[in-house]
């Protein structure tokens, strides 16, 4: 890894996304004295506490007061520092939505928000701790960049890359027990650029976060068992969306499914749908995620199965969309 970071592949096997974040932030803190850390009594849970332990004079606990937390971050950014703010996604995106919008995004301030426990990753904690709306909320704020890493490796890449991204960034991760997807960090991560995990011409699966692994696994199984040629795009950056990758998927495969650990309203699927509509081209399309409802309460793995975000669910949806007709069939007898 560049910039002399000490994070290794071995760590990705034993460390959660949040732990890797804490480690990477410490290493970045050594190189960038302008980095400061903030949390709202969740330093331990979000792992930004590691940064606080290493740089106590550069770490601030706002207490259980998320609105103040983001107001403070805006002020620090205005003073030329680079605040990394960590709290649970539900609090960052909803309780402090006005401060994120008006204090940070409106002024296009250089604040990096690392939101943990997103989606259904804290499923057993109940609806108050679920966060299935944050992508929709954050991508609606002008100037905000929204990143959903696939695993700890990508988390490290995203944190490193966001340092040089001008303006506010929202990085969304889970509770921390997500399996590793990438064997190492050298796969070409770049903010705003989708990663082609598998190439194919029959259908494209556009996914982010914890859904990348099951999509890749489903593509492999579908190829082996049914001869289907499935493209998988890890759309880690929801905003700015890699529209070129989506347009290529429309032109090349003409069937697209999005998978996200988020409501199907306003998230990755909606961003891709906007792109498809703007292209003016016909395409079979389906959004998979949490439908227009509050997420059930349960263990994350069970919830992923329930919402068809696991490998079997992906395969089932691919089979369904492959049968979907999206344009009037032509006369197959009229042949040259």
């Amino acid at each position: 890894m560049s910039e002399g970071l000490t994070w290794t592949v071995y760590d990705a096997d034993t460390m959660t996304q949040a732990e890797i974040y804490g480690q990477v932030l410490c290493d970045l803190g050594e190189m960038h004295p302008e980095i400061v850390g903030l949390s709202a009594d969740l330093a331990k849970s979000t792992k930004i506490g590691r940064f606080g332990d290493r740089f106590p004079e550069r770490f601030f606990n706002a207490g259980i007061a998320e609105q103040n937390l983001f107001g403070m971050a805006a002020g620090l950014a205005k003073a030329g520092l680079v605040p990394f703010v960590s709290t649970m996604a539900a609090f960052a995106s909803m309780r402090a939505a006005e401060q994120v919008r008006t204090d940070i995004c409106y002024q296009n301030l250089n604040v990096k928000i690392i939101a943990t426990h997103a989606g259904a990753s804290f499923g057993q904690a109940g609806t108050t701790h679920h966060c299935t709306e944050d992508i929709a909320i954050m991508r609606s704020f002008a100037n905000m960049c929204v990143i959903v890493p696939a695993d700890g490796v990508e988390m490290a890449n995203a944190v490193k890359a966001c340092i040089s991204w001008p303006g506010p960034v929202y990085i969304r991760i889970g509770r921390g027990f997500e399996p590793r997807f990438y064997p190492n960090e050298d796969y070409g991560f770049s903010i705003g650029k989708a990663v082609k995990v598998a190439d194919g011409t029959d259908i494209t699966l556009i996914c982010c976060g914890v859904t990348v692994l099951p999509c890749a696994e489903a593509a492999r199984i579908l190829k082996e068992q049914e001869g289907l040629s499935v493209r998988v795009l890890n759309m880690h950056t929801i905003k700015p969306l890699d529209e070129k990758a989506v347009e290529e998927a429309i032109a090349d495969t003409r069937r697209i499914i999005t998978f996200e650990e988020h409501t199907v309203l306003g998230g990755l699927g909606s961003a891709v749908a906007d792109c498809i509509a703007a292209s003016g081209k016909g395409c079979a399309f389906k959004k998979v995620g949490i439908s227009d409802c509050f997420c059930e309460v349960g263990y994350p793995e069970d919830l992923y199965t329930h919402y068809k975000l696991d490998t079997d669910g992906v395969i089932e949806t691919v089979r369904e969309v492959m049968k979907m007709d999206f344009e009037e069939d032509e006369d197959w007898e009229d042949e040259v």
């Binding site: 029959d202 090349d252 495969t253 069937r255 197959w332 007898e333 009229d334 042949e335």
Partner: protein
């Protein structure tokens, strides 16, 4: 009256629906044929007697325009009538098979049609033109014929081909030689359709790109196989090699059927 076997009917289907239509390439790209048929208005029927229904197709010439109408047309200017489907297939395969010919009162047209049928012999495996223009013509006609033949092989319900196409979603099998020679086979859940040019609505599932006419010619002549062509740099294949091999197998089956 004889009743053709399924295999004979399938071969006739390939000749009438895949081979005869490439006459249009001769008429548009060979200057001599273009000039010869520029002002011809005529219908030429090929017909094989069969039970329960005769089999045939009609070549329609209209002032330089050309099309093939399947079945029996009204008032043809010339008719080639064969005793059975097997004999008609034999004639198209270049084997001796004498038809009953009506229209002998139009010797000028008859001579032109004979010359056209002789021109079609360029598709024969042993026809090895030296003239670069003729080589290009052979490559173009062959790939046009092959893609349509593959589609007709499926529409003729060859069990293996039907099994192969029915389990596929919409896919494009594209062959490209250069800007002027491209053809494709479109497959969708058991249905097939051949087309000329480059399919633009989706990326090909399998794309065979030849590096020009001279690269494609040894393949067309069966001088080298596809693996050798790839190794020698004449051909590049994008997409599933397994499905490429399947296409190659079906081409061989069609060749065996019509030769």
């Amino acid at each position: 009256m004889a009743q053709a076997t399924q295999r004979e009917l399938l071969a006739a289907r390939i000749f009438l629906r895949a081979v005869l239509p490439v006459i249009k390439v001769l008429l548009t790209e060979d200057p001599a044929f273009k000039k010869r048929f520029a002002k011809v208005n005529a219908k030429v029927q090929f017909l094989a007697k069969n039970e329960p229904a005769d089999v045939g197709a009609c070549l329609v010439f209209e002032n330089g325009d050309f099309r093939v109408e399947q079945g029996i047309c009204n008032s043809p200017d010339i008719s080639f009538v064969f005793r059975n489907v097997s004999r008609m297939n034999a004639m198209f395969a270049g084997k001796p098979a004498i038809p009953w010919i009506s229209g002998l009162t139009k010797p000028g047209l008859l001579i032109k049609v004979f010359s056209l049928l002789m021109g079609l012999m360029i598709l024969m495996p042993n026809a090895r033109p030296k003239d670069p223009a003729k080589r290009r013509l052979k490559v173009k006609m062959t790939f046009y014929m092959i893609t349509t033949a593959l589609s007709q092989y499926n529409k003729g319900r060859d069990p293996e081909m039907v099994k192969w196409t029915s389990r596929q979603p919409e896919r494009i099998y594209q062959i490209t030689v250069d800007d002027g020679i491209a053809a494709y086979l479109r497959v969708k859940a058991g249905k097939t359709k051949a087309g000329r040019g480059t399919y633009t609505k989706r990326r090909p599932f399998l794309h065979m790109r030849f590096n020009g006419v001279e690269g494609a010619f040894p393949i067309v002549m069966n001088d080298i196989d596809m693996v050798t062509a790839v190794r020698q740099g004449h051909l590049s294949v994008e997409g599933s090699p397994e499905y490429g091999a399947n296409i190659g197998d079906f081409m061989m089956r069609i060749q065996n059927l019509i030769t």
